[in-house]
Subunit: 119 residues, 6 copies
């Protein structure tokens, strides 16, 4: 069976640190779900790009890095603003995944509480 991981970011913008993390994670799983968070925001100093612009940015960066399109699912997910609902929202918008990769303490806590393995 395919092992699928989850990686969440706002990617405002996508940078080399994200790319390195994705490369590292792809050694541990067969496929990776990359969630573009806060998808509904744009045109703000801390959220300059639309979800569509970020989608293009992420995919082109991965293609240049020779990561096959078929290894990743890039999915914009709008914020629901209620932490208690957020894991369910991510689950609803994405293919099933079993491992979550994150350094962000809140993401770690929310997915752990929901029973996921977090690395």
């Amino acid at each position: 069976m395919v092992t699928r991981g989850l990686y969440v970011g706002r990617f405002q913008p996508f940078h080399i640190g994200h790319l390195d993390a994705i490369k590292a994670v792809l050694k541990e799983v067969d496929e990776l779900v990359i969630v573009i968070g806060s998808a509904q925001y744009s045109h703000k100093p801390n959220n300059p790009f639309t979800a569509g612009e970020r989608l293009v940015m992420v995919r082109h960066a991965l293609q240049e890095a020779k990561i096959a399109d078929s290894k990743v699912w890039i999915v914009p997910v709008p914020d629901v603003h209620l932490h208690m609902l957020w894991v369910s929202a991510v689950e609803g918008y994405t293919p099933k995944f079993t491992v979550v990769f994150t350094n962000e303490p809140l993401t770690r806590r929310l997915f752990s509480e929901a029973g996921y393995e977090v690395r």
Copy 2:
């Protein structure tokens, strides 16, 4: 320059008619943005699948039909419920597109009013 088309559906479920339409459209454009509409709904008689389940369904169907992953962008977009805002919402969630393919009268009207070529 790449010509990019837009194709919108709820895909509850994705069926052979959708696949035929996508194949036909891909003869006219270089890339196709496939919007999974009403992305936030699921578990209802007329909207049984989550956006994530539909994403898997659409992508696997296209892969089986030998359509290259690199030709399409599959993007879940939640409904905003206000027709006056819907074209802007689609634009915000997707890569730029110039042609819209639809048989649905309201979609046709909304994108025409917004200045798009609709085929």
Copy 3:
């Protein structure tokens, strides 16, 4: 440890069938969380009462039936309209529970999918 059950209804209005169900359920658990669903609606033919009016109605009916206040938690929960988020929303508004009592197929399915025992 206390066993806590969950019982969900709109209670528009609360009737004898609800009361009988609650009495039966209270033989199986120590405490019962009674969720007043669709809490934000009122003044409509199919949702005539506010959450506040229903709260009074349910509590007074239980008191008349000699059910101790300390055995139940009556909690209004607003609809989130997204089935994929609903279990999380109920979990967020209520004390922890381990068993769900329902005859309603969608409620049964959503809580089963989330890993609860449903009776």
Copy 4:
């Protein structure tokens, strides 16, 4: 007729000051409606607990202080974020009340404008 007061807090967490205020207020009214405000928030530094966790916290604290369950109504109410709607939202979620107890200037102003006695 029963005199019913209103007392609003976020209770993140419930503390001794809240308990003292509630004890004092219960000398002036027969029953007290305790609104758990900002009910939809949790998992944040300034809003750590879910409405359900706060509900348990408040009720157990009152029981330990020998305040009868039958004297209070503990009701989670989600924020509507529009001050002009907030009094109506509280009225919709709670049993009828006639006096409002608060030290918070905005709450005082909003309920006064709506015609309530504020102490």
Copy 5:
């Protein structure tokens, strides 16, 4: 002091019945607040026009009927979908008024409950 009335409609479209009602009401009050309800909807069979289109329609019809611009306030108000909040929402969007003119039973009930004179 100026007596100000309230008149609510969706005006999809504005018709002669509305105009007659407004003329009649203007004999009883000095100024009239005309609320364009369901302001956020458009492009639907039962809500074809945007709030902007309806604003133009109502104002031009009144001007043709020689009703002075200074006698009326035409104000689009979006639906809040919660009847318990609707009177507060109208109050927030409009100049103060003291009388409500309506034949619609729910509007009559909601404004009566809120303490307005309804004719």
Copy 6:
């Protein structure tokens, strides 16, 4: 044909600078659409007045300045909080306009991107 301009402000409160700007703009266009932005907010330090109070304030100030009611359309528009949707929201709530007057960089950028002349 009538030339119609757009002028947007929150008007918390309306002041002499706004009035001077409106007078200047009215020399360049036949009619002016004055949008009262953030219409749903009030009772806050930085948004003290309701849309209704601001509507009265703006109209009375214009009348005192001898600007004919028939030259202006004063329209409250609630924020949608998503910059990508904001131009569409303004278009939906207002009469058609062709020129936008603003000094605010974001407003300038959003309307320019949408194809409007901005002065």
